[in-house]
């Protein structure tokens, strides 16, 4: 089992690591990151990074995909613990920047002190002052 950390949260998945590879069930990668290997390429939402013809077998074997290799191929950031038991997947600056430049406020749900999750989008119809602070 490995732990997957993504902007969506934390997931546990059956996986095998070999060198720089991380073989995961395709459904686990999709659930944790939104990225899927499709006939048109490696895709999330409307973004697809095409794979060269004939290369699919490098990235897929049966129901598993090499998540680490796919992320590197698609220019998406990732980091792993030394023992390869914890993997952190991110989103490229290119995707982030184009999302922000669309001016549509990225949505997120975060817990209050009681654990109740609030989403920015819960407040559509109001003007929202989204502000940060810290105790440190």
């Amino acid at each position: 089992m490995v732990t997957l950390l993504t902007e969506r949260g934390r997931y546990e998945a059956a996986a095998s690591t070999e060198g720089e590879s991380l073989w995961l069930p395709a459904v686990a990668l999709s659930m944790a990151t939104g990225w899927e290997l499709k006939p048109e390429g490696f895709c999330r939402d409307e973004i697809c990074v095409p794979l060269s013809r004939g290369r699919e077998s490098e990235f897929r074997r049966g129901e598993e995909v090499d998540a680490a290799k796919l992320f590197r191929y698609a220019g998406q950031p990732l980091a792993a613990s030394r023992d390869k038991s914890v993997w952190s997947f991110g989103t490229s600056a290119a995707i982030r920047s184009s999302a922000l430049e669309s001016l549509e406020a990225p949505d997120i749900g975060l817990p209050d002190l009681a654990g109740k999750v609030h989403r920015i989008s819960d407040h559509r119809g109001k003007k929202v002052f989204l502000s940060t602070w810290a105790s440190w």
């Binding site: 950390l5 950031p77 920047s97 922000l100 989008s121 559509r124 929202v128 002052f129 810290a134």
Partner: protein, 223 residues
């Protein structure tokens, strides 16, 4: 936070919400005393992984984004009314000289007045950017920054899992990749020191020299 509560009380009938996010990797307990003391009635949430900083390209606190009724950004991430006057603070007594106090008051008032103006006047407010200006104010992000957020998330997880030494290395890598993020650097120190003040803070601030700690706020009259 008492300032935000005051503002929320004043403006809530205009269709306004404060969505305040505490960047606290040590979890809700680190933020609880402040939230309870301010008796907040606006939305007050905890972001242990600094996910908001990742989504909105934030580097500091306090920073803010203004979002209209349709979920459109009218002012992208910027400093929420603070300035570098704090660098003139007496580092022992933690008090500001008169000139610094005046600057703090002036910046805060200008910022809050601008926010009020937008809440009451919407797109007609001179402080609401049109789409082109808003886009022009989106901070540029680099792939190193995107990778830094991955290392930060990993470091936070390893720290919570009790793998302190490896956590520290991961967080240091995040900070190396994203040296402009005071959030990452200060949170890293806070985790390591479990909330005690970081003795290296002023040294890192002094190293900025003529560079800013808080970016300039693009509003008339802001220094």
């Amino acid at each position: 936070m008492p300032v935000w509560q005051h503002l929320y009380d004043e403006l809530k009938d205009y269709g306004f919400m404060v969505f305040a996010v505490a960047m606290e990797s040590r979890g809700p307990e680190a933020a609880r005393p402040w939230i309870e003391a301010a008796k907040t009635t606006y939305v007050s949430v905890i972001d242990a992984d600094h996910r908001l900083a990742e989504l909105y390209n934030m580097v500091n606190v306090p920073e803010a984004v203004w979002i209209d009724e349709a979920g459109r950004i009218v002012r992208p991430t910027e400093v929420a009314g603070s300035g570098d006057y704090f660098r003139k603070m007496d580092r022992v007594t933690r008090t500001l000289p008169e000139e610094g106090k005046a600057m703090r008051e002036s910046m805060r008032t200008r910022y809050m007045d601008a926010l009020r103006d937008w809440v009451k006047n919407g797109n007609r407010s001179e402080f609401a950017f049109d789409a082109n200006a808003a886009r022009g104010h989106v901070r540029k992000q680099t792939e190193d920054v995107a990778l830094a957020h991955c290392w930060f998330r990993l470091g936070r997880h390893l720290h919570a899992a009790g793998r302190a030494e490896e956590a520290e290395a991961a967080l240091a890598e995040a900070s190396r990749l994203h040296p402009d993020s005071w959030n990452i650097w200060r949170q890293m120190g806070d985790m390591k020191l479990e909330g005690k003040p970081n003795p290296d803070f002023w040294g890192r601030v002094d190293k900025l020299g003529a560079r800013r700690y808080y970016d300039k706020i693009d509003m008339p009259g802001m220094p």
